[in-house]
């Protein structure tokens, strides 16, 4: 614990350094990055060693605060597990930022950005170590606030401001729900300590959980509370998107998980709610991802999808616990945790790739990109690896987490009817999500990196600086390593749920054999691919290799604009989900005999955003505007208000 706090101090010191040396741009970046990363690495070493030592004793620390409260911190296996991505991704994102934050004219702002980055990292670490209400909320709010500043880094752009605004509201609204949830808990327990939460009456648990689920869910991005994600992620600088999407939204997951464990509710409803939400979130998330043309927006929706997958895993685990199905619970939870870790890596990788593209090709719209694989080979290849990983395809990391969830879900197929239906839904949903995610990421990779550049900017793109590419290569390799040698990482996830009493002690030896088989299969597959590659080389030896234009099916003058676009690629698939996804087509029409230039636009609108606007925000604003006459400026009536107030109150006498 002391090491952890020491590491947090170093991280914060890094943030302070940024503010102090704001004038010397490069020095400031280097010093901050090194200091903050050093802090992260200390923390990482500490949490990993604690996590893997199987040390069951709980480590606690507390201080008195404001006479009333205690700031209590406690470390158990789940905490440690969540600390790992925090401390892993942060230094990577920081190193990446060295070249990404290259604009010396924004030196002060960059320094502020690093400062809040450090605060964000520290507050996330505090969120997962908090052991009572006050500490948790304190860290939670700090996290929201600091991440808000990170989002509005490029505040000159109106969309970014709007995104920051939306995020701010969701953060605060979610926090208010959490306040309410914790207040209800306090009402029953009379203290702030997490460990007493399970004592509250069973009837209140569901309400508390739902409030907390909505509160945490708004941070995590469950459907329909996800709408800030696709706005905030494109707005933030890419390494910030990476850390937010890779790590920060997982704090919502942590909260849901923690709350579930603390409440220890007997009602099966909780697991069912989580599972169904996960399914809805996952499928709709990926469908929307498919429909978007802005890479970062697409990645944000993909984060929503992955939150869905994680929630499916978690829901499987919860259903498993409520039906006393230990295997289901164990693998559900472990799968969810492992996916948290995996997603943090490949999503960060993808965001960094997107950032690299944005940096060099000056656009995020995939319909204006293309051909980047040749111009930015390292970014392209690492992005490809990330795409395969996020689609959950072996032999990359995404598959492993999903496999665990599948495994848990298959164990849920038993005679319990609700359980069976839920498990089947989960399995089918995972399959559909996997298929659509593959479609989605073939779209990004295929259109942005392959083919021909669609615009000048894309054609002139160059590879990014070494700090960016090195990090991306490292992360891509990590994705592959986790996919091929998953055992230590699965053990990590198992260690993560070690402290959950209802599933601990599950015998994993049998499963470890399967894991070894998976590992072998993956290796074998890679071997087979290599073999076929050699064979192909052999077959092409001494043969004539020609090159020419793409076969245009007889058309002789193809241009790059004739390439298939992302919009067309996705049109049919998203059309399939029509009631849940709004496709707005605008067509200028043909009016004259000799038609002039006509336009046709297609845009995917978020159904929850639209309905939120239509059913909540607009009536609310309208309703509030109806009351504006109160302050009409006439003093006579102001005095009349007082008289009316008196008379009204006298009736209560």
């Amino acid at each position: 614990m002391d090491t952890l706090f020491a590491s947090l101090s170093v991280i914060l010191a890094g943030g302070m350094i940024a503010l102090l040396f704001a004038k010397q741009f490069t020095l400031m970046k280097a010093a901050t990055i090194i200091t903050t990363s050093a802090g992260c690495l200390i923390g990482l070493a500490d949490s990993l060693s604690l996590l893997l030592s199987n040390n069951t004793e709980v480590i606690e620390k507390s201080w008195d605060w404001l006479h009333l409260f205690t700031l209590a911190f406690k470390v158990d296996s789940i905490t440690l597990f969540f600390l790992v991505p925090i401390f892993t991704i942060s230094p990577l994102a920081l190193f990446y930022s060295f070249h990404y934050m290259g604009d010396g004219a924004k030196a002060t702002r960059t320094a502020v950005n690093y400062f809040f980055f450090a605060i964000l990292v520290a507050s996330m670490a505090l969120v997962v170590t908090a052991a009572n209400t006050i500490t948790f909320l304190l860290a939670w709010e700090l996290m929201s606030l600091s991440s808000f500043f990170l989002v509005v880094f490029d505040y000159q752009v109106q969309e970014n401001r709007q995104a920051g605004y939306l995020y701010f509201i969701f953060a605060q609204g979610g926090a208010m729900l959490l306040f309410a949830a914790f207040a209800i808990l306090y009402k029953y327990t009379g203290n702030f300590d997490f460990s007493t939460f399970h004592t509250i009456p069973e009837s209140a648990k569901l309400l508390v959980f739902i409030l907390a689920f909505l509160g945490f869910g708004s941070k995590a991005g469950i459907f329909p509370l996800h709408i800030w994600l696709p706005k905030a992620h494109p707005a933030a600088p890419s390494h910030i998107s990476a850390i937010m999407s890779g790590v920060m939204i997982k704090m919502g997951i942590y909260g849901i998980f923690r709350m579930y464990l603390l409440l220890d509710a007997a009602t099966p409803l909780i697991g069912q709610i989580v599972l169904v939400t996960g399914i809805v979130t996952g499928i709709l998330g990926v469908v929307y991802a498919l429909g978007k043309q802005d890479i970062k927006q697409l990645l944000a929706y993909s984060s929503v999808e992955n939150i869905g997958i994680i929630l499916i895993g978690m829901g499987i685990g919860m259903v498993g616990i409520s039906t006393k199905n230990q295997a289901m619970a164990f693998f559900g939870f472990a799968g969810a945790l492992l996916h948290v870790f995996n997603h943090s890596i490949f999503k960060s990788l993808l965001f960094m790739g997107a950032g690299s593209v944005l940096h060099k090709a000056k656009t995020k719209n995939i319909d204006q990109l293309g051909g980047l694989m040749k111009r930015m080979p390292l970014t392209g290849k690492t992005f490809l690896a990330g795409s395969v990983a996020i689609s959950g395809l072996p032999p990359f990391s995404g598959f492993i987490g999903e496999f665990l969830i599948y495994y848990g879900a298959f164990h849920g197929i038993s005679n319990c009817r609700v359980c069976l239906i839920l498990a089947v839904l989960a399995i089918v949903a995972l399959a559909v999500i996997g298929g659509l995610a593959a479609a989605c990421f073939t779209k990004v990779t295929g259109l942005a990196f392959l083919g021909e550049p669609r615009t000048e900017n894309a054609a002139n793109a160059k590879e990014s600086g070494f700090s960016m590419t090195l990090i991306m290569i490292f992360m891509a390799i990590t994705c592959l390593v986790i996919g091929v040698l998953p055992e230590p990482f699965i053990r990590l996830a198992f260690a993560g749920i070690n402290d959950i009493s209802s599933v601990s002690g599950y015998d994993t030896r049998e499963f470890m054999i399967i894991v070894r088989h998976i590992s072998q299969t993956a290796a074998f597959f890679i071997g087979l691919v290599l073999l076929l590659t050699m064979l192909r080389k052999l077959l092409y030896m001494k043969k004539e290799i020609g090159s020419g234009g793409t076969w245009g099916c007889g058309f002789t003058q193809p241009t790059v604009r004739m390439q298939y676009t992302g919009t067309s690629y996705a049109a049919e698939m998203i059309g399939f989900f029509r009631p849940f996804i709004l496709i707005k087509n605008t067509y200028s029409g043909i009016t004259k005999i000799f038609p002039g230039k006509t336009t046709w636009e297609s845009e995917v609108e978020d159904v929850s955003e639209k309905n939120l606007h239509l059913c909540l925000v607009e009536p609310l604003l309208k309703g509030m505007n109806k009351f504006h006459w109160i302050q009409h400026g006439k003093i006579h009536f102001y005095i009349a208000y007082i008289v009316v107030a008196i008379i009204t109150l006298l009736f209560f006498l």
Binding site: L66, H67, L68, T108, I134, L137, L138, E141, L142, S144, L145, V152, Y155, Q156, Q158, R161, G164, Y165, F168, I169, Q172, G173, M176, F179, A180, F182, A183, I184, Y186, K187, G190, L620, L621, M624, N625, F627, H628, I630, Q631, I635, Y638, I639, Y641, I642, V644, A645, I646, L649, L650, F652, L653
Partner: protein
């Protein structure tokens, strides 16, 4: 003598009226220092009241006094720089009235007698009125007129409330002194009907001054039209004094066993104020008006917290302290913004992050603080109020409370973001200046420090202040 706390500013105020401006400014700051020193001595208990029949030190009064005194010191430092920038025509009057204003506020904080309290509160209105209209612009005059009329009418009703309380004494054959401290000892003997009627008039009367809806109507006008140091004083200090009147009355009813009655009224007013503030903060066009409505909201929160009782009362008291600190800081920043852009309209501001980075930092930090983000104290106070309300089972009211908070946050953050980060094409009039930024920082820092470390004596004082209405920290 305790009365010196009121008399010194009164005396120096008279002097300052007749002296040149440069000396007047010095007098302002020196008096503020002296006042703070006396206040601290009163805290320690070194100063005894000379007229114990009229004045005494109560924990709630001391709390308000300390906050007032501290804020006044910081604002007076700001005012010196602000005044030199604005070249006000009748500056000696301004300085004098500011000091009178301090005197009357101190009197409110120290008054124990029902009617002396009333006199003091009425005096605050009269003393602060010149501060608002010294600009002599049309809107400033209008605002002052509304302020004086509405508050006078409201406070006149409070006098009737005082009479009703006295009547309830007579019916109950109580012959104690008409002081809050004496009455609360024999509160159960008072006639409940007339006491309740008295409370209604008192809460309406002082509530007018405090800015509880629907009697709040003067507040946005006065706060937005006053010079920024005055706005800061009005919002950070005056509203607390008015609150003190409401609080004392509530204490009396609580002691008389009518706590439920007064609590419900306070909760009702509190929620109504928050909702009204929410309505007007959305699409607000002026930033000072926005801050004014935010004051209405926060007064509503305090009334709500006091009404809930228990843990929420503690939260309300913390809220009072932190709101004063943060809101005055915000108003001071708004003064800089006004100087810089020359307009009170949000539409005519923007891009503060680049143009006025220091002010922007103070302004945004203040906004974050007032919205309940750590590391500022409102985070704690709002949390405590929510906890307390749930503990008391007030589910519906707390739902409205939370809804209003979110609405206000949504409304205000949009405007604040527009100001801090939005587009702005024109040039700026006056650059920011360390002397005018540091006071804002000082106030924020005070809130921050109090959120990290609450001195024991302060804590104990709050505890004894809330103990009189059954508030405690363990529910």
């Amino acid at each position: 003598m305790l009365e010196f706390i009121c008399l010194i500013p009164l005396f120096t105020g008279i002097i300052a009226m007749f002296l040149p401006v440069s000396i007047g400014r010095v007098i302002l700051v020196v008096t503020a220092l002296l006042h703070l020193q006396l206040t601290v001595m009163a805290w320690i208990g070194k100063v005894k009241p000379g007229l114990p029949y009229y004045f005494s030190t109560s924990p709630d009064g001391l709390l308000v006094l300390l906050v007032t005194s501290f804020i006044f010191l910081v604002i007076s430092i700001y005012a010196v720089s602000y005044l030199s920038e604005t070249e006000m025509t009748s500056e000696p009057i301004y300085i004098g009235c500011t000091l009178f204003f301090l005197a009357s506020m101190s009197m409110v904080a120290l008054a124990d007698h029902l009617i002396v309290l009333w006199i003091a509160i009425e005096a605050t209105t009269l003393m602060s009125a010149p501060l608002i209209f010294l600009h002599r612009s049309k809107s400033a005059l209008e605002a002052t007129w509304k302020y004086v009329m509405i508050c006078s009418v409201g406070i006149a009703l409070a006098l009737l409330g005082c009479f009703f309380v006295v009547l309830s004494m007579e019916i109950g054959h109580v012959t104690e002194a008409i002081t809050y401290s004496a009455l609360s000892k024999v509160a159960t003997q008072l006639n409940p009907t007339w006491l309740k009627a008295g409370f209604i008039f008192l809460v309406i009367g002082y509530g007018t001054k405090m800015g509880l809806a629907p009697m709040h109507t003067w507040l946005p006008d006065a706060h937005s039209e006053a010079p920024s140091p005055t706005s800061a004083l009005l919002s950070g200090a005056l509203l607390n004094c008015a609150f003190l009147g409401v609080y004392r009355s509530h204490q009396l009813l609580f002691k008389a066993g009518l706590g439920d009655f007064s609590s419900n009224i306070l909760i009702g007013f509190g929620l109504l104020s928050m909702l009204v503030a929410a309505v007007f903060i959305f699409n607000q066009s002026g930033y000072k008006r926005m801050l004014a409505y935010s004051s209405i909201e926060n007064m509503g929160i305090i009334a709500f917290g006091v009404g809930i009782g228990g843990l929420a009362t503690y939260g309300a008291m913390l809220h009072l302290i932190h709101h004063s600190l943060i809101k005055s800081s915000l108003f001071l920043s708004s003064g800089n913004i006004l100087l810089g852009y020359g307009s009170k309209l949000i539409a005519n501001t923007g891009n503060m992050a680049r143009l006025f980075p220091k002010t922007c930092t103070a302004f945004f930090a203040g906004f974050a603080g007032i919205s309940g983000f750590p590391p500022f104290g409102i985070f704690v106070s709002e949390l405590l109020i929510i906890l307390g309300a749930f503990q008391k089972g007030r589910t519906i009211s707390i739902s409205i409370f939370i809804l209003a908070l979110v609405l206000i946050f949504a409304g205000a953050s949009r405007l604040v973001m527009k100001m801090c980060f939005g587009k702005y094409k024109q040039g700026v009039l006056v650059d920011e200046n360390m002397a005018r930024v540091l006071p804002s920082y000082a106030l924020l820092l005070a809130s921050l420090i109090l959120c990290v470390w609450l001195p024991d004596s302060l804590y104990q004082t709050i505890l004894s202040a809330i103990a009189t209405i059954g508030g405690s920290t363990n529910g």
